[in-house]
């Protein structure tokens, strides 16, 4: 498929210089605008690529395939197709939350395309698997989560579509309002199922690309033990802890996040 079609399908935004490529993949829940405070920091040194997963942001929702996108492997296929069509080589892949795992799966498919993985709050499996594995969620929690999502998404899509611009609101803010989280509710619901029912523990040892794991100290979605588990099973991985609460360091603590990534890339750059 030609580049223009792929760019449109994934709503690709390309900024920066003609340098080594760095791809930012948003996590579950929103779209590439999440990287607003982090991605620009790399525009002086890298070719910065941001995109929206199918069904999020302004990607082409018609490209959603209920079978393909029923598992994270389908999303990994999308990423592989994207980097392949754009002709990226030795890219840095920055994935948040479920996109961390999607990136890891994509790197198994086409390791030659990736040089480094940066995984913000990764988890190979969210469901607990007694007695040894703690993912943080019980099956009833996942059911409750899917239900709550459904409840909110139904209301939200409409609310945001009709949101009235506040007084004194800038164009930037208004644009954010309409694009952010105005995702396709049905697709997001399926994405949530794919995410929270996934089990990619067996895939971790197959990853050959070196990676940075960024772990938040008080993260309900990716608790500390999960970060440790990832570090143990990902070869060539480095684990860094952030003393913050929450799951969105790139939104809540962008400066610290940029610094972590930059340090990692510089330290491990090949001479």
């Amino acid at each position: 498929m030609p580049q223009t079609a792929v760019r449109q399908r994934f709503n690709v935004t390309e900024t920066g210089v003609d340098g080594p490529p760095i791809v930012f993949a948003h996590g579950f829940g929103c779209d590439q605008s999440m990287w607003r405070f982090v991605a620009p920091a790399f525009e002086a040194t890298h070719r910065v690529i941001r995109f929206d997963h199918i069904g999020s942001g302004r990607s082409d929702a018609r490209a959603h395939d209920p079978h393909r996108h029923a598992t994270l492997e389908g999303y990994a296929e999308d990423v592989a197709e994207l980097v392949g069509t754009l002709g990226l080589r030795d890219a840095v892949f920055v994935g948040h939350s479920v996109s961390a795992m999607i990136g890891a799966l994509a790197s198994i498919r086409c390791p030659g395309r990736f040089q480094r993985l940066v995984l913000l709050g990764p988890s190979p499996r969210y469901l607990n698997d007694a007695p040894d594995y703690v993912g943080g969620f019980e099956p009833a929690d996942v059911d409750g989560l899917l239900e709550m999502l459904e409840r909110n998404l139904v209301g939200w899509a409409d609310y945001l579509a009709h949101a009235v611009a506040g007084a004194g609101e800038t164009a930037v803010a208004a644009e954010l309002k309409t694009s952010f989280c105005a995702a396709d509710p049905t697709i997001i619901r399926r994405f949530a199922r794919a995410t929270f029912l996934a089990d990619n523990r067996a895939d971790l040892p197959r990853v050959t690309v070196p990676s940075l794991i960024v772990q938040m100290e008080d993260d309900a979605i990716a608790p500390l033990v999960v970060g440790d588990y990832c570090h143990r099973h990902l070869r060539g991985s480095v684990l860094k802890r952030m003393p913050i609460s929450g799951h969105m360091p790139h939104l809540t603590h962008p400066r610290e996040t940029v610094a972590l990534i930059r340090d990692y890339l510089q330290c491990t750059a090949t001479p």
Partner: protein, 644 residues
């Protein structure tokens, strides 16, 4: 200060810093969570929620707050004192007025609205699962059209998203044909009227494939002048195709039935007078009870042979008609050649003798079998042999041979007749074209070979001709070989033992003949006159037969015509069989109809056999006697019944 000075508010309130650390809460929030203001101060907001609530807060609520600055009516769950969730709607905003940014959160119980939401979600789930698309469609006064609602199957059915068509209906509408679009865009319900619309429109997809979509919807006019539709659209292509196929098959079946009915009636009408001609000719020629002069015998003979030719022509015409239609069925089975060839030779012997032509059969015919319809195979071979004799010369020969080769069997009839030129061979199978023989003294209609070829082809066989003018002709017919053949010839009557001696009551055996045609009655009376022990009773209709049987002794034999003025022979027999006195009386169906229809009627109604009209006098007398013997055996309790 950890408790806010707003006591008694109906909602829980929280103030937190930019990192989510709780600064102050109100009494209502303490009540819901079961924790004190002091205990909560300094804790992170995320600790207020259940596992699910915390996930929603961290993945959705916080980013929204960060980027939008406010969130309204977000469903979430606080953790109560016993660990259970308390469903809340959260309203939150970021306050950037003061020196430090603050998070303000308000929690309102989610009860009444929840009931509405639950219902909405139920309906949505059901609508999304429905196979067709459920929709609300709107046309504004200025003509702009959109779908305020479309169920999830819009994605798979029309390749659009609900979001897309919420703004503009064009991506979906342009897939429908002009008529469908006109209906949707042009409907003008009157005020207060609910316009019911039901139509089928053609839909063209991206690849040019077409399908039929059926719309069921109601349109009404809104106060602002827009027209609003609610309804359902589904792909009915498969259903329509099935319906079309069913009605096509039904129409074809109707045609076939009416053809068959027509031919049956024609057959009946033609053969009824023939019955009289042939039977009376035979009866007169038999010399009983009055001998005729030689000239009279000769004349009677001519009447008989003319009648026979007429019968032959009628049969051929009916065959040709039926072969042209769809209703001609052959019943294929393994058939032993020796029986078939033997029968043809027997049939042709008189003709061969009269023409001075010798008939021979090669011994290899024995032991070979083919897959064919036995009756029709006899017809084919008889036609070929008859032609071979007809177009021959005195002292000439006709040979019947057979050969097996590679799964097929080839039957050859060759003659030493006049042969044909290449031009004549070309015209061989043309109907009514007798290739010049019409100017000779040889009788024929020119239909025989037409029928023969069609019969051969219907049986999956092939026919070939070789010929040399002045030398002779060779006709080959080829069929699939059969492994083994069990032939039960339907033409040979079962031999029945004859009763010896007189039996009490053997005279005056009542036979009931149900027939409405007076000429046929006279024929039967004349035939029965040769069986003195029979007393013939007649009835001209179903009702007449029932009236007769109500008062008379039960007959020993029932002869029932197939076509009666007030019903069929089968219907009559079925009614008669309900009478215990008549349940086991042998019954025969008399019909001019073709064998297939007759066989079906016989099976269905419980006849013991069929007599075909026009009746051959000698065969009928023999059959009558056999039937009477059979009837006597049945009535005789002490006789044993060795049935061959």
């Amino acid at each position: 200060m950890s408790e806010l000075p707003l006591r008694g508010m109906p909602c829980g309130l929280v103030v937190a810093d930019a990192d989510g650390r709780i600064l102050a809460v109100n009494d209502r929030l303490c009540e819901v969570t079961g924790r004190s203001a002091e205990a909560l101060r300094g804790q992170n907001v995320s600790g207020l929620f259940t596992v699910v609530g915390r996930t929603m807060y961290q993945t959705y609520l916080l980013p929204l707050l960060r980027l939008h600055g406010r969130v309204e009516e977000f469903a979430i769950a606080l953790r109560g004192p016993d660990g259970h969730g308390a469903d809340m709607l959260i309203h939150a905003c970021v306050d950037t007025q003061g020196p430090e940014p603050r998070l303000h959160l308000a929690f309102v119980p989610y009860r009444a609205r929840r009931a509405v939401d639950d219902e909405l979600l139920r309906v949505r789930r059901a609508a999304d699962r429905a196979p067709g698309m459920i929709f609300e469609f709107e046309v504004a006064p200025d003509g702009a059209a959109r779908f305020p609602y479309a169920s999830d199957s819009i994605r798979t059915r029309y390749g659009c998203t609900p979001d897309q068509v919420r703004a503009d209906a064009t991506p979906l509408l342009r897939q429908f044909d002009a008529e469908g679009r006109a209906r949707l865009l042009g409907a003008q319900p009157r005020s207060g009227e609910e316009l019911l619309q039901h139509f089928v429109t053609q839909r063209v997809d991206d690849e040019g494939g077409t399908a039929w979509h059926e719309v069921h919807a109601t349109a009404r006019r809104r106060a602002d002048g827009s027209v609003s539709w609610q309804g359902h659209v589904a792909d009915v292509s498969a259903r329509l195709a099935l319906q079309e196929e069913a009605s096509r098959r039904h129409a074809a079946e109707q045609v076939r039935l009416s053809q068959a009915e027509f031919l049956g009636r024609v057959s009946h009408e033609l053969k009824t007078p023939l019955n009289a001609i042939l039977a009376f000719a035979q009866l007169l020629a038999s010399g009983e009870p009055h001998r005729l002069s030689a000239t009279q015998l000769q004349h009677v003979g001519l009447i008989g042979s003319a009648g026979g030719q007429l019968l032959h022509l009628v049969d051929e015409l009916i065959d040709v008609s039926r072969l042209q239609g769809d209703g001609f069925a052959v019943s294929m089975a393994p058939v032993a050649l020796d029986a078939v060839v033997g029968r043809c030779v027997a049939l042709a012997a008189p003709q061969a003798g009269a023409a001075g032509v010798s008939l021979s059969v090669s011994p290899r015919v024995d032991g070979l079998a083919v897959v064919a319809d036995e009756r029709r195979l006899v017809q084919v071979l008889a036609n070929l042999v008859s032609n071979a004799i007809k177009y021959n010369r005195r002292g000439g020969t006709v040979r019947i041979r057979a050969r097996a080769c590679g799964g097929r069997v080839r039957l050859t009839v060759d003659d030493s007749g006049r042969g044909m030129t290449p031009q004549q061979m070309q015209a061989l199978f043309r109907p009514f074209d007798r290739l010049g023989a019409e100017r000779s003294e040889v009788q024929g209609t020119g239909l025989g070979l037409v029928i023969t070829r069609q019969l051969v082809e219907r049986m999956g066989g092939r026919i070939e001709v070789e010929s040399e003018a002045g030398v002779g002709s060779r006709f080959h017919v080829e069929f699939a070989a059969a492994a083994a053949a069990a032939t039960v010839s339907r033409h040979l009557p079962l031999p029945l033992p004859r009763l010896t001696g007189e039996r009490p009551g053997d005279s005056a055996l009542p036979v009931l003949y149900v027939e409405d045609n007076e000429v046929n009655v006279v024929v039967m009376e004349a035939i029965v006159a040769h069986c003195p022990q029979v007393v013939l009773h007649t009835a001209g209709s179903v009702q007449a037969a029932l009236r007769h049987l109500a008062v008379a002794d039960p007959p020993v034999l029932l002869l029932i015509d197939h076509r009666l003025p007030d019903g069929t022979g089968s219907e009559l027999l079925q009614r008669l069989r309900q009478d215990p006195r008549l349940r086991h009386v042998p019954a025969y169906l008399l019909t001019a109809d073709t064998a297939e229809e007759a066989a079906a009627a016989v099976r269905a109604a419980g006849f013991d056999g069929v007599w075909s009209k026009p009746l051959d006098v000698h065969h009928t007398i023999a059959a009558l006697e056999a039937a009477l013997h059979w009837s006597a055996l049945q009535r005789d309790d002490t006789a044993t019944m060795p049935l061959q």
